[in-house]
Structure formats: C-alpha cells, structure tokens
C-alpha cells in the first residue's frame, strides 16, 4: 500500500499474451519481485490460443509448436515463478504522474492503473514501472471504404479464427478472403480443411504481406488462387453476403474498369492489416510513431514516459512470435533494472537518433543512449517495398559500419541488425545512426 491506500507493485504488465508472459518471466528472473500481469481474457496466452497451426518456436525452442503449445511453455514457467496475474480484467486507464512534493526526479514518477473486473469491480493500483503488452487489433471493414450494405458474413480473419478454433463454429461455407496477411492465409487453409470452399484470396499489393511458408502450405497446397493487385470493389447482399466483386487494380491501387469479376459467396474474411492497440498508451502521454502506430522507444524499450516500457505487437507488428518473446524479455529485464535504479531514465546521458534511410520504413528502437546500450542492441525494422539483391547498411554519422547482403527483402518480413554497444560508445561525436537499403 502506498500513501493513498492503493496497492503498489514494482512492475505492472498490461496484457498476458506472448509479450506480457515473456516480459513478466524475464523481469522476475532479473530480480524484480513484485510483478502483476493484467489480462482481459479468461486465460493467459493471448492470440496464441486461437493460432492452432504449427510453426511457432523454431527460433526459441528449435522445434515447431502450435500456438497453444508455445503459450503453455511460457505459462508454466510463469506459474513456476509464482508471478501474480488477474484474468478477466480490463485496464481502463493508465496515468503517469510525478507525485506532489517529489523533487521532480523522473524516476519518482508513479503510475496509476485503473482496471475493472467482475470479481473486484473498479480498482486502482499503482506501479513503479509499467510494461505495455496489449498487442494489436485487426483493421476492420470500416477502414476499407468498400461500398455496399452491411450484411452478415463479413468477418476479420482473426474473428473467424476464434469462432472456428475456440468457439467451434463455422462462420460460412463459400468464402472470399481480402488481404493476404498471415492470418488470412492460415484461415484459407483452416476453412478449407473444415469443408468450406475458399474461392480466392485477393491482395491489393503486387506482393503478399504473408510469409512464404504460408502461401505455399495454405494456398498452393489446396489450389486456392492468390490474386495479386486485386481488391474487392463491391459486396452484394442485404441480409447476408451473397457475392463479392473483385477487380484488378493499377499501379496506384485504383480499380481498373472492365476487370470486375463476381464471386458468389456467403462470407468475406478481411486480413488487411494489424494496428497496435495504444489507447491506454496515448492516455498516459506516451509518444506514438505515426509509422508503426506504436510507442517511440529507446534501446531499453522505454517509451517517452520514464518507467513505461513497451514490447510485442503493441510496439510494432511482428510476424514471428519468437521475436515478440525475445523483445519482451528485453523489456522485462530493463523494467527490472529501472526499478532497481541501475539504469534509470537518464536525460543527462547522450541520446542518438536512429534515422531511416532509403527503403526503411521505421526502426525499433528509434533512439539509442550509447552509454546504456549494453553489449549489443537489436535494431528491428521493415522495408517499404520488395528489394532484390540488395544490402542492409548501417551508418554512424557518415561512415558505413555494416553491410549485410540480402537476396530478397519484403515488407512482410521483419529484418534486424545487431549493433555493438562498444562500437557506438567509441565512435567520436556520434550524432546519428542510419539504416538504409542499398543496391548490391
């Protein structure tokens, strides 16, 4: 209890999916004792629970697991360590304020978390550090501006996945999928295996946003056509979807008149992108990147609000859960260090921005304190287009320090480069780190 009579935890983690679990485990293993995870679902594991396909954990466990199995490994470790969690608990608000009377040190900033649950009602607690691990949300139909009525039978791919894999019911029998994100591809196979006819996957871009493996094993295996540079231009049906019209698009992604083709179907699944879920972060004053829609973070995965860290899909959308776990473990460790006061948010140490050069849409982190960077920093990023026979280059000021050849880079596949902390610290007058794509 603190002065206001509210329960206090050193670290509160919002979200008990893959990021929250790995962050909690790592924070505990790094010496933090008082940790609480708040999860809105009835169980831990997050979206992994509905991702029943295999292919998870190749990097982490060197074997292929299904989503629920991958989650279970972390959940059992979580329970072994005796970490506290509240299920069926929805966080409503996060505030980070320097307590009155404090000398204004950034480390003294206390976080207040308001949550509600059926068993406890509305509750406020406080924390020394908060780790944001809320994940992301699917872009809904409303974000697409597709004309037509609002009939039943239009679902996001993830909603359909939950219906089939957790609730045990099929949302439809004749299906068209818009968008070739991984969940859409996975659902094309899943619906086919459950007896539905998947007529086509339409992708507005000239390349798929999904992993190669999923295109091969979810579409090619079942003869499902992938229509690149195509989109849905009309949804027919008033009460229930009766058909959709798919048109080719030009290089500006505008439908080409005369290319319309009607597909009779009862269901349209949308797999058109994921958006980090940052309402709580914004409410707490956390600075958000317009590119990732996730918090702007330092090498410690600390946001613009001291003591508030972010990891996983709330930070930027990942394609492999292994990287979420790895990133979240780093955030957990840094949060534990923050609580111990070892690596506190020092505004007095030099800070170097990471700039995005040719072809690079964003980087995480987007700035680095070389003094706090430790031995190595993993810089993750995405490219904005498909690049063949190219090289990923890293510059410190104007000198190139790394050049990694790549046969192909695609926006759907996250890239990483590892920077050496010593190299950053020993570089004279470092003012800028730049990552860019160059021709090979």
């Amino acid at each position: 209890m603190n002065k206001a009579g509210l329960s206090y935890y050193d670290i509160v983690i919002i979200g008990g999916g893959p990021a929250g679990l790995a962050a909690a485990i790592s924070a505990k293993e790094s010496g933090a004792d008082s940790i609480l995870v708040l999860e809105r679902d009835r169980e831990l594991g997050g979206i992994l629970n509905q991702c029943i396909h295999n292919g998870f954990g190749l990097h982490t466990f060197k074997e292929e697991l299904t989503g629920p199995e991958y989650a279970a490994r972390f959940i059992s470790r979580f329970h072994e360590l005796g970490i506290d969690c509240r299920l069926n608990t929805m966080v409503l608000d996060l505030k980070a304020e320097a307590p009155s009377g404090d000398e204004g040190s950034s480390n003294g900033c206390i976080k207040t978390i308001t949550y509600s649950s059926r068993s406890e009602g509305l509750v406020q607690i406080t924390a020394g550090a908060v780790i944001l691990a809320m994940g992301c949300r699917e872009r809904p139909r409303g974000a697409l501006n597709t004309p037509g009525y609002r009939p039943a039978g239009i679902y996001t791919a993830g909603t359909a996945q939950r219906l089939v894999n957790i609730e045990g019911c099929m949302p439809g029998r004749r299906v068209v999928i818009l968008g070739s994100g991984d969940i859409g591809l996975i659902m094309a196979r899943r619906m086919t295996l459950e007896g539905a006819k998947v007529l086509a996957v339409a992708e507005v871009m000239p390349y798929s946003g999904g992993l190669k493996r999923n295109i091969v094993q979810c579409l090619d295996d079942y003869g499902i056509p992938l229509l690149l540079s195509h989109t849905v231009t009309e949804i027919k049906g008033k009460e229930r979807v009766e058909a959709v019209v798919i048109s080719e698009v030009d290089e500006n992604r505008r439908p080409v008149p005369g290319t319309e083709k009607e597909y009779e179907c009862d269901t349209l699944l949308l797999s058109v992108g994921l958006l980090p879920e940052n309402e709580l972060s914004r409410g707490a004053g956390v600075g958000i990147s317009p590119v990732t829609s996730g918090p702007v973070v330092s090498e410690s995965l600390e946001t613009s609000v001291p003591g508030v860290f972010a990891c996983g899909n709330v930070l930027h959308v990942h394609d492999l859960v292994d990287y979420v776990s790895e990133e979240a473990a780093a955030a957990g460790k840094r949060a534990a260090e923050y609580i111990k006061g070892g690596a506190s948010a020092g505004s007095d140490t030099p800070c170097v921005p990471v700039k995005t050069g040719n072809g690079v849409r964003y980087t995480v982190p987007s700035y680095i304190h070389p003094d706090k960077a430790g031995e190595r920093i993993t810089l993750r990023f995405r490219v904005g287009d498909v690049y063949r026979d190219c090289a990923i280059c890293v510059y410190l000021n104007d000198s190139r320090i790394a050049r990694k050849k790549a046969r192909i880079l695609a926006p759907g596949e996250m890239q990483e480069v590892i920077l050496s902390g010593d190299e950053l610290r020993s570089f004279p007058d470092l003012t800028e780190i730049k990552v860019c794509i160059e021709a090979n």
Partner: protein, 123 residues
Amino acid sequence: METRNLTCINCPMGCQLTVVTDGGEVVSVTGNTCPRGEIYARKEVTHPTRIVTSTVSVSGGVIPVVSVKTASDIPKESIQAVMDAVSGVCVNAPVSIGDVLLENIAGTGAALVATKNVAAKQL
C-alpha cells in the same frame, strides 16, 4: 526431364527453388542458399508431408473444442483422410497437452494429440 518451381519454406527467405527430375529421380536442385533448401526440395517432389492441425469436440470442458495435431508429419495426400478421421473424434474434459486422442490416424502411423489444456467446466 521435368522441371518444378518451388518456394522454400524453411525460413522467411523463401528461396525460389528449381528442381529437375527425371523419371521420379531428382537430377538437380538450384536456387537454394543453404542445405535445408535442397533437402526440402528433394522431399517436396518425392514424398511431401505435412503436420495437420485442427480441433475436436470436447464435452464438459470450459470451451467446446480442443486444438489437436498429428504428432508427426503425414503424407500430403492423406490430409483429407486425416481430417475425416478428426471430425469423428469427441473427447471428455479435462484434456492436457500431449494427450493421445487417436492412434495411427487414417493409417498414417501418426497419433492425434491434444495441443491445448482444456479444464473441465465447474458445475
């Protein structure tokens, strides 16, 4: 001589592989950047296999279905037969990860195992 183009699925690189076969024998694999690509290509043109994942009904559980997988990979051409066998399975809660729900599914030699813990519903 027959040529097949494949996309390697071992890693996110997705190398474009070209496999030349002659009378069912692999003559050459090109386009791979690591040995895994060649192994994949040889297997994919001679005896492709897949792990099948699905769900089966659970009675008395906190959720109505439990996720399952074939414990080992099965021939690609047996996927439908495996799915037909899966659809006939119903288990009683509780179910634990690794529980064998069906031995030798559809004659593939692979067991069908649970991939999720489903607790019994408290009455």
